[in-house]
């Protein structure tokens, strides 16, 4: 067990005061996560700290924050692994601050929605007990990107999002590739029109920060480069739209 100092960013637009850091001493075990420490502070030292969390197991993506300078999930970051006696928690960068560590995801989700993150296929209305057949290699083309939990860490780490409000960000672009390359999706041209823009996929400079911070191994930078390659005509012939089959009994 060791004692660590947790510095928590405090800002409440309602009280009109400047942002500040409050400091709290907490005892941490080897298994104590930053979220555990923050919830201990909230329960025993200052209940007014605002933060968002839910599952505590890196599945919901709610507790993203900048911990010691890097966007991380608080529930997925152990105090010990940070190797420091001082832990600074800030709200995710590139997201407007609602209060303290809670940030507003409205713009982030709007960008995600603008990618039409669902299968577009006219045949879906005529499924009638049939199903799309996909080979394992077709599934592997998009499976990795479908593990995204929309935690916003990649968006917070991206240097392009930091300066370009119109850039969709790594999460949205990786999701675009996820649906584009899915053999059940037929809206290839419509999808490409959305991102083939100077504030779109071409704005990415492959800094790779998104993939470094992703807690689920989604590798958004890979998706974005593959999306560009697709636009450049490097892999267009690799997509064959899946057909509907009736399962044999």
């Amino acid at each position: 067990m060791k004692r660590v100092k947790i510095r928590v960013f405090r800002y409440n637009p309602a009280d009109g005061a400047d942002a500040r850091y409050d400091e709290f001493e907490v005892e941490a075990e080897r298994w104590t996560t930053v979220l555990d420490a923050l919830l201990y502070i909230k329960a025993h030292k200052d209940h007014s700290i605002a933060l968002r969390y839910s599952c505590r197991m890196a599945s919901c993506g709610s507790c993203g924050m900048v911990i010691n300078g890097i966007p991380r999930l608080a529930c997925y970051t152990k105090v010990y692994e940070l190797g420091s006696d001082v832990i600074t928690c800030r709200p995710l960068t590139n997201f407007p601050i609602i209060r303290d560590l809670a940030t507003d995801f409205t713009a982030f989700f709007a960008k995600h929605k603008s990618m039409r993150p669902y299968i577009i296929n006219d045949a879906v209305d005529r499924i009638d007990g049939r199903e799309f057949l996909q080979k394992p290699e077709e599934v592997e083309k998009y499976l990795q990107f479908s593990y995204c939990i929309k935690c916003g860490l990649c968006y917070a780490a991206c240097p392009t999002v930091a300066t370009d409000k119109r850039f969709p960000g790594p999460q949205a672009l990786a999701q675009m590739y996820r649906y584009l390359i899915d053999s059940r999706d037929m809206a290839t041209d419509e999808r490409l029109k959305v991102v083939d823009d100077r504030h779109g996929v071409w704005r990415c400079h492959f800094a790779g920060s998104c993939s470094m911070v992703c807690p689920k191994g989604v590798d958004p930078a890979l998706g974005i480069q593959l999306l560009r390659a697709y636009l450049l005509g490097m892999s267009r012939d690799s997509k064959v739209v899946a057909e509907l089959y009736r399962r044999e009994k």
Partner: protein
């Protein structure tokens, strides 16, 4: 709500996110440096319109030790920017960045794999070698 965009200061720290972020930072820095050099170079060569003596006076500035150091840095910036640019060109064509698969813990992004890292350090090494050769030629003349 408080706007919390990181802005240009988000570009300034190259140490937070590994080799690719470092390469991104260096690419920006060298690009900016080459732009400044290009403008200075245009101003420098435009001195020729003021006659031979003005031209030679300006040329003499580049023959000093300080002038040689500036040229060495320009050589380094040029080589790194070009070599790293080729890496980025290859990456955006979907080459050398791995393939999507089933992520397994501990997650290691394939797009930031050994191949890309090696290309970054080769770009840095080429820039360093070019600077050393430049120093040999420039200071060898003096």
């Amino acid at each position: 709500m408080k706007e919390n965009r990181e802005g240009v200061k988000g570009w300034l720290n190259p140490t937070r996110y590994g080799a690719n972020r470092f390469a991104y930072w260096l690419q920006r820095l060298t690009g900016l440096g080459l732009l400044i050099y290009f403008i200075a170079h245009v101003i420098e060569t435009s001195n020729i319109v003021y006659g031979k003596s003005a031209w030679e006076k300006m040329l003499a500035v580049t023959q000093t030790n300080e002038g040689h150091i500036v040229l060495m840095v320009v050589i380094g910036m040029c080589v790194f920017h070009a070599a790293n640019g080729v890496r980025l060109y290859i990456a955006e064509h979907g080459k050398g960045i791995g393939r999507p698969g089933r992520p397994e813990y501990p997650y290691k992004p394939t797009s930031l794999g050994l191949g890309m890292k090696a290309c970054i350090w080769v770009s840095v090494a080429l820039a360093a070698l070019a600077m050393m050769y430049g120093a040999y030629v420039l200071f060898g003349e003096a």
